[in-house]
């Protein structure tokens, strides 16, 4: 079975079982997102991919495409709402783009640029979060974690290790590590795990290196994320 629906007036074909996001990605139409990665079960938590489908607001990654559906994606209203979500994400963590080694190849930064967010609007929370550098090859900077749960899904569903989980609720939600000490170095995590290569921001990074790609040649230096796509897909290509 297949059919078609429209995104901002453009006709998009779909196969039965595809979400709006899946069909849009196949048709190379960009719907902003952070927690979605087509390799894993959709999670629907970042809410950035929310679109209106026949007038109802839904997450594009968790809503199945249906024949004749009219989807609005990049309208003024939706983009304004996305900017609001992004501004909230920026103040909830400590995202210091000027010094961050992920700058220029960070999905949060790139989506923010795409949605026209040029400055923070809200008061920063400045949460006190640690850096876990206990693992010999990988570092976790919790300051930059946006709770997308991609590392949780990759470790559980692909690596079969369940090294990561999200604990706490609401503003207290945080990433935890399954090890006696709670530190990465004492867990079963390995730098060759899938979970090491899915972080869309600068939270899970290889150790002892950074800033190796010169400014001007980084992933999003030349083209917008709407053309280039996700960080994880490029990392897979580089590693593969």
């Amino acid at each position: 079975m297949s059919g078609s629906f429209s995104i901002d007036g453009v006709t998009v074909p779909f196969e039965t079982g595809q979400s709006i996001m899946d069909a849009a990605l196949a048709a190379k139409i960009y719907i902003p997102h952070l927690c979605h990665n087509p390799e894993f079960q959709p999670h629907g938590s970042c809410r950035l991919c929310c679109v209106t489908a026949n007038g109802r607001t839904v997450a594009a990654c968790t809503t199945l495409a249906t024949d004749g559906l009219e989807v609005a994606n990049e309208t003024h209203e939706i983009t304004t709402r996305r900017r609001l979500l992004l501004k909230l994400l920026f103040v909830e963590g400590n995202h210091v783009c000027p010094a961050c080694e992920k700058s220029g190849a960070c999905q949060l930064q790139a989506v923010a640029y795409h949605c026209g967010m040029l400055a923070p609007e809200f008061v920063h929370f400045y949460p006190k979060r640690a850096v876990d550098a206990s693992h010999p090859e990988t570092i976790i900077d919790f300051n930059r974690c946006i709770l997308c749960e991609l590392c949780v899904r990759a470790s559980r569903d692909h690596d079969g290790k369940s090294v990561f989980n999200i604990s706490g609720r609401g503003i207290d939600a945080h990433l935890t590590i399954d090890s006696p000490s709670g530190r990465l170095g004492d867990s079963r995590f390995s730098a060759s795990d899938k979970a090491a290569r899915v972080c869309p921001v600068g939270a899970i990074l290889p150790k002892h290196r950074g800033y190796e790609i010169p400014i001007g040649r980084r992933l999003y230096d030349q083209e917008s994320i709407s053309q280039v796509g996700d960080v994880a897909s490029h990392r897979e290509q580089e590693d593969g």
Partner: protein, 501 residues
């Protein structure tokens, strides 16, 4: 002007009865980088009793980089400054080379870093001379304040102003080619650099070089002539006699990127020479004073009272034995002939020395762009990690020291940054006091007199925002007084942060 002995000047640090004195604050200091002020306390006869240079902003980099991964340091700490970020970037870069266990970079990596550094010094010196200081020197210290700025310079000397802007732009372009951005780019990574030049980038920089060297020569002639026009007055203005410190090559040549520490005393005697710069802490100590966020370093051999020294262009051109580029070397010989029996101690000679260095940097950039290593592909070395790294470099304003310790996980546990302006803190205060003692002798106070104080500070090209790091170490006294002035309680915090009554 009157001759003032060092004892006279030192009496002006703290007045005995400040409550009876009139206070004048020059705030903010203008045409310097960062935020500072000078306070003057005068008696009823307009005679100076106390003069201090204060740094009133606070940065705290040494504290908040604790807990960060070491490879972030060059990019993180360069945010100390918007004028000399490259100097901080490269000092931290040299430190993290050591943390990564690398003692020798590949020729390509070292030359890319040097190119970036020469571009940085060239642009910073052009900015300081043309934009910040030349209005004083061209129009006079007490000229019309409405004209005594870069806009006045553009109106009255448009060609000169244009040269200043374009010289600076060239330096910024050298930085952009090596770091990806003119300000706050990336280049140094542990044990190397993230890019070299391609031939189009090299050709792009080469096309402007002959013009830059010509303009560099003209800027040098201008600085030299301005000094010599009122030679005796300029020789004595804000003059203090101090030892001079800089990095030097082992053979005594001028060195801006990597060398041993040399300290030369006023009579030309080498107090220190070929000292491994990582041993700086054996020779330089720091004192904290209750009235400034900036530390007061001194030479350990001479003690806190007499250990004041100077760094920067004046110190470098004085302390080196030669310069390895022909035009700058010729200028150095002329410069040193000013004081055949010792060092050139005139504070205003900083400008002249600065322009010798600007020309030297243009010549070095020319040499480097002809070097095939700059286009090489061998960018990075690796080694065994070490717990401490100390990067020392000659920044535009003088010797810059970045000292870091990390834990086995690679996170910073301690940082000490001794910034060029901090080295000059005592000297700047002494120069301020010298000018104050010379001018504030009872005559009616004019705007020109206040600007003369600023001219003395400006000569050092201080970067005040780089230089404030005395977090938690500043001694403080809090006094609770009755309306009649009687002290009823007193709380004292010492330099270790401990409280007592």
């Amino acid at each position: 002007m009157t001759d003032s002995t060092p004892t006279d000047i030192s009496r002006l640090e703290t007045a005995e009865h400040p409550e009876n004195l009139r206070r004048i604050a020059i705030e903010p200091l203008t045409r310097v980088e960062g935020h500072g002020k000078v306070t003057l306390l005068l008696d009823h006869d307009n005679r100076i009793r106390q003069a201090r240079l204060h740094i009133v902003e606070f940065r705290g980099f040494e504290k908040f980089i604790q807990g960060r991964p070491y490879w972030e340091l060059p990019v993180l700490v360069q945010r100390l400054c918007g004028i000399c970020p490259v100097s901080h970037h490269l000092a931290a870069g040299k430190a993290i080379d050591q943390l990564a266990g690398v003692d020798q970079l590949t020729p390509t990596a070292e030359k890319v870093r040097r190119l970036m550094h020469y571009g940085q010094i060239l642009q910073s010196h052009a900015l300081h001379f043309f934009h910040l200081s030349s209005p004083d020197l061209l129009f006079g210290f007490d000229s019309d304040i409405g004209q005594r700025n870069v806009v006045g310079l553009i109106e009255r000397h448009p060609d000169l102003a244009k040269q200043g802007v374009l010289l600076r732009k060239f330096g910024q372009e050298v930085i952009r080619v090596t770091a990806g951005k003119r300000i706050h780019g990336t280049c140094a990574i542990p044990g190397g650099v993230n890019k070299s030049l391609d031939s189009s980038e090299r050709n792009y920089l080469q096309q402007d070089l002959p013009q830059m060297i010509r303009w560099g020569q003209e800027a040098l002639s201008l600085a030299q002539n301005l000094f010599l026009e009122a030679r005796e007055q300029h020789r004595r203005f804000a003059r203090i006699d101090t030892p001079m410190m800089s990095l030097c090559r082992d053979d005594g040549g001028l060195e801006l990127y990597h060398g041993g520490l040399r300290v030369v005393t006023g009579d030309g005697h080498k107090l220190l020479d070929r000292i491994d710069s990582r041993e700086y802490h054996r020779h330089i100590r720091e004192q904290v004073k209750s009235w400034s966020y900036m530390k007061f370093p001194y030479l350990q051999q001479l003690g806190p009272e007499h250990g004041s020294y100077r760094v920067g262009p004046l110190a470098r051109i004085n302390s080196c034995d030669y310069i390895d580029t022909p035009l700058a070397e010729r200028a150095r010989v002329e410069f040193r002939a000013l004081e055949p029996d010792g060092l050139v101690q005139s504070t205003l000679a900083y400008h002249w020395a600065r322009m010798i260095e600007l020309l030297h940097c243009a010549e070095k950039i020319e040499q480097l762009l002809d070097d095939a290593d700059l286009l090489g592909s061998d960018l990075q070395q690796s080694g065994e990690m070490r717990p401490r790294g100390i990067g020392v470099i000659e920044a535009p304003r003088g010797t810059l020291i970045h000292d870091y310790e990390i834990n086995p996980d690679g996170l910073v546990t301690r940082a000490n940054l001794i910034v060029s302006t901090t080295h000059n803190n005592r000297a700047m205060n002494e120069s301020v006091r010298t000018v104050a003692a010379d001018l504030f002798d009872g005559r009616e106070i004019s705007e020109g007199m206040l600007n003369s104080i600023e001219v003395a500070v400006r000569a050092y090209d201080p970067c005040l925002s780089c230089a404030t790091h005395a977090l938690g170490k500043m001694p403080l006294v809090v006094e609770l007084q009755e309306p009649d002035g009687r002290i009823i309680d007193r709380l004292i915090k010492d330099t270790r942060g401990e409280l007592s009554r």
